[in-house]
Subunit: 330 residues, 2 copies
Amino acid sequence: MNLEEVARRAGVSIATASRVLNNAPRVKDTTRVRVMSVVEKLKYHPNLHARCLAGGRSRSIGVIVSNIENPFFRDIYTAVETAAHAEEYEIFMANTDYRAEQVATSVRSMMGRRVAGLAAIVSEMDQELVGELNGYGIPVVFYDVGAPRHNITVIRVNYRRGIQKLTSYLYSLGHRRMGIVGHHTQQAQMNERLEVAMEIAARYGDLVVETAADVDSLQGGCRAARRLLAVNPRLTAMMCVNDSMAVGAMREIRDQGLRVPDDISVTGFDDVELAQFCYPALTSVRIPRDQIAKDIWGAMVGSERTRPGNEIMIEPELILRESTGPAAKS
Amino acid sequence: MNLEEVARRAGVSIATASRVLNNAPRVKDTTRVRVMSVVEKLKYHPNLHARCLAGGRSRSIGVIVSNIENPFFRDIYTAVETAAHAEEYEIFMANTDYRAEQVATSVRSMMGRRVAGLAAIVSEMDQELVGELNGYGIPVVFYDVGAPRHNITVIRVNYRRGIQKLTSYLYSLGHRRMGIVGHHTQQAQMNERLEVAMEIAARYGDLVVETAADVDSLQGGCRAARRLLAVNPRLTAMMCVNDSMAVGAMREIRDQGLRVPDDISVTGFDDVELAQFCYPALTSVRIPRDQIAKDIWGAMVGSERTRPGNEIMIEPELILRESTGPAAKS
DNA sequence: TTGAAAGCGGTACCAG
DNA sequence: CTGGTACCGCTTTCAA
């Protein structure tokens, strides 16, 4: 069913029917009513594809995330969604599951939909794709990858700094045998955060470090912790790449009859809502996701702070809670 | 940039260029190569709107959920997404935030996109909209609302049964003063689960029940529990509508210096991943989300079990963990 | 194998 | 105020 049929049944031209549907001015009220009644009777829904094609406009933006199950991405997504809806924008979401191949597919799909802006909040974005997005006429936001260009805004989080804070804090508490829990993406065996953590830990001469990576989930954190404890049962601290994995790690530690933080201190990263609600509450590093979302939306609509071409650096903040304490004597 | 330009630069007709893009047979290899090289050079992405319009097909389905932050909906969504991607379907997701008005908007948007199927996993679906979706030619799946029709499959969860099990279990443990934590939707002050729980509790003559509702989140569970304890500090059990709220409630209980389950038993609902990883691990009611997702996808592609017109009843299962125990003497 | 042309369902400009 | 109509970008016969 299409506009033509609506027009015919209402006894008007397609043009007039279209005007009514778009609330255009200069349409006689009686005509408007007549058309609308047909629309309702027929449960007519204008074909959005045709509309986009003809209108050329789009009023929609794309958001691509690595893992919508991870609260970090989820929070950013929902905040952007709220901002977009407030200004009558639609939002296309794509989930890549940490697969670079899926990123390419999603980007292509977004471009095909002619979105007015695109935010790629994914860690597995490859350089080639970044370059490809470079020349487009729409605002693009990258997260922690690529370099700002005239249409590209880059939001960068100072992980190094966050992990630095975490490490020196744990070190000052006397921890010298530390486990690091990362998660792997589909391609790499470990993600960037893990690598940064290893690098920083290496600077401390007397710090023994073990690492393990698993999938990004509570379950993954649990398994990684198990492996870590198998390799070195004398660890006194575990630094996890994010809060979910930390909560998973705490479960495993408890299941082995150890206590957090008495026997082992655990830290998360991101400071998602769960960090305050789990037990013990998690020491973490706050990444202001609402700020990131605000910046993403700002870049889409061209605000000052996020004017395309800018690079925005997000500074993390150490949040001390109950999951960390002095290293156990051994 | 469009197909015409690609065709021109490759020195072929639009038709041929289109054939190449669609991997149609009967195109000379050299031609194919020539066209593809132009495509790559120009970073050409076919306009999906035009493609849908012309092709008439769609190969996309819509999924509408109440709250993507709620792991219950999230798990169903991601499982459906995985199934859809496996068969090269795209998926449009819409999040309603429990607002009936947003449901209407989302449904309209999905119809406008001419999706090949629609799953509305929302509790706030109103009858009128259900009726509207009735006559469409596409498979539609509702969750816990409406009645099966020729194109409509209804997936129903036997909440009543789940809550029944929970209540009688707690009762058998000696609990006689129980708090019920629900969450409200934007319109109603409480959702269906809460009402069912109240109704069932009322059957037990000597069961004192208090209820509280807040937003659907960890924080909401925390606040609701606080209110409950203020109203009746002698509660020995709290039954929460879902696991997230239960985890929030446990935090509050702990913060008041009480222990779970020694002083107060807590139960969740849904049995999401977090239920096993929180501390203490949560007694809950398992709703097989993967089965629901499978049924949704089945309805989209017309499988046996979910043939449109069917009603599928999901039976919940009680999962006992550490958060419940005998009622404290008082 | 390839090209020409008729739509797909709207929008918007130009007359009337 | 309303109608006619030239596109929007692509798919898909039908011929060549």
